[in-house]
């Protein structure tokens, strides 16, 4: 273990204490007003957060929580040895940039004003593209995608043909999902062999669940259903045959049971028609993978990854709580879709 890694591992151990406990999460979700939420949050390492009076408070909160997560992540990247730092930066920045690109492309596709698109972006500096503003200012969404020539996102240009054929955006979004997973898998090469497993398991299960959900959505589309090969350019733990089966079956529960662990557990809410619960289950599974990775090796990369995974799930839960409180949703309904308070 390099001295750089030891330091960042110890730092991660120390920073784990800054993360919110399930009890604190429950207390936050139980608040009836935004003021109460901010007050409770002020007693945690988040400190006092100022929310602009104008505009949607839940959007402002989401930005605050993203900024906090990015600063936590960058704090680790700055301390980590170069190979691990490069990997972590690429892992998170590519993911966030893919989300930003999707938002830009959607905005361009529907003709949303440029300022609205820019306001919806995750607050990161452009990572592999030159500028988000330039993409937003492109005259059409096709031209925005073509301007990605020369970047790691260049393969998106080939998805334009499908997009034009179906007059839809999904081919571009699916190509971006695939690109995200493949770039992360490629960047795993920077990591030592022992550290790759935890990341591979997380990325794989995420990509598999996303693919499966896309397949489930195609059920009942009949002749309008798109071909499985076009929709799933890359598959991981759930292969193309299984995805095709999910698209064509009348009995989805049989297909899910056939997928085995962990998919049968994560996808079980489909039986009751509550697809939103799948993401909560997925986050809980990722939380479990990170926790087990830490148990297996608490003095290496796994401890660093666990801190970042917990931190990201905390951010997602806090975004959900923030929105729920601004909308006056009951704490019971909010807690239902959170990962950390429900983690057993």
């Amino acid at each position: 273990m390099s001295p750089g890694l030891s330091y960042v591992v110890i730092r991660s151990h120390a920073l784990l204490a800054d993360l919110l406990t399930p009890e604190q999460m429950r207390a936050l979700a139980g608040q009836e007003s935004l003021e109460g939420f901010v007050e409770i949050l002020a007693e945690t390492p988040y400190g006092h957060i100022a929310i602009e009076e104008e505009g949607d408070a839940s959007i402002a909160l989401e930005k605050v929580f993203y900024e906090k997560f990015i600063s936590r992540m960058m704090g680790i990247v700055d301390l980590a040895p170069i190979d691990i730092g490069d990997f972590l930066q690429s892992y998170y920045y590519i993911r966030f940039e893919v989300i930003n690109l999707k938002r830009i492309i959607r905005g361009k596709y529907s003709g949303l004003p440029g300022t609205d698109v820019l306001n919806s972006l995750i607050p990161i500096v452009p990572y592999r593209v030159k500028s988000y503003e330039e993409l937003v200012e492109a005259p059409t969404f096709e031209e925005a995608i073509r301007s990605l020539e020369g970047t790691p996102y260049a393969p998106l240009i080939s998805s334009l043909e499908l997009s034009e054929r179906y007059n839809a955006l999904w081919p571009v979004e699916i190509a971006l999902n695939h690109l995200n997973a493949s770039v992360i898998f490629k960047s795993l090469e920077h990591l030592p062999q022992s550290a790759r497993d935890i990341v591979r398991r997380i990325v794989q299960v995420e990509a598999d669940v996303e693919n499966f959900l896309v397949a489930v959505k195609q059920r009942g589309a009949g002749e309008r259903a798109h071909s499985a090969e076009e929709m799933f350019p890359a598959t991981y733990g759930i292969n193309l045959d299984k995805l095709r089966e999910a698209m064509e079956t009348d009995d989805i529960s049989a297909v899910i049971r056939g997928l085995g662990h962990p998919y049968d557990e994560i996808l079980a809410p489909i039986y009751e028609g509550d697809v939103a619960l799948i993401r909560s289950r997925l986050r809980q599974h990722i939380y479990k993978v990170a926790k087990r990775g830490r148990i297996a090796n608490d003095f290496g990369f796994n401890a660093v990854m666990a801190y970042l995974v917990f931190s990201e799930i905390e951010k997602d839960d806090l975004v959900g709580i923030g929105w729920g409180i601004t909308q006056g949703i009951t704490s019971e309904d909010i807690l239902n879709y959170l990962a950390i308070p429900n983690f057993v």
Partner: protein, 209 residues
Amino acid sequence: MIALSVTTGVRPTKGYLMEMKRRIGFIERGTEFLKLKRDHLAKELTSSIDVLKGRRSRLLENLRVAYRAVTAANISLGPIEVRSQASSLKTGLKLEVLPRAVMGVRYPFIKVETEPQITGELDITLSEAAEKVLSILDDILQLAEFEARVERIADELGKTNRKVNALENTIIPSYRRVIKFIEDKLDEESLEELVRMKLIGGALARRRE
């Protein structure tokens, strides 16, 4: 202060009496029509309220289900992502509000020009929520239209009732008083005329003797 009675300024002539009688006949016929309208509106309102209660409770239950799906989508995806995905829908909801009338009561009729098209860009969570909202969109519009109709009918019923009451309790009695006043005046005048004639007749007879 000078108190003005209903008979102030009334000309006690036979022509005016005939005009008053013609008017009161017209008003009474109008009152009968208004009563008929009032009864029809009351009947329509009673039956509409029952329908409205049923529709509203059904819609509220469906809305609860749809809102739960929207809540789940927002909590699991985050509000910014939900907005971003929702903005990728190219066709939005376009409505035209046209006027319609029942028994002279105008109410809005909503015509859907274009419905939002979910073309597969949405995440499954949001897509399910959107489908649930879309499935009750027609019910929401129909209920809004029906509520507006019921509201206008209730409003019109109130107005008609006030008109009938005013006619029955104020206008018609006042006309009757005027008519009675003129009739009394005319009777008095004819009696005076008769007495005068009798006196003149008596005086002429005495002169002839």
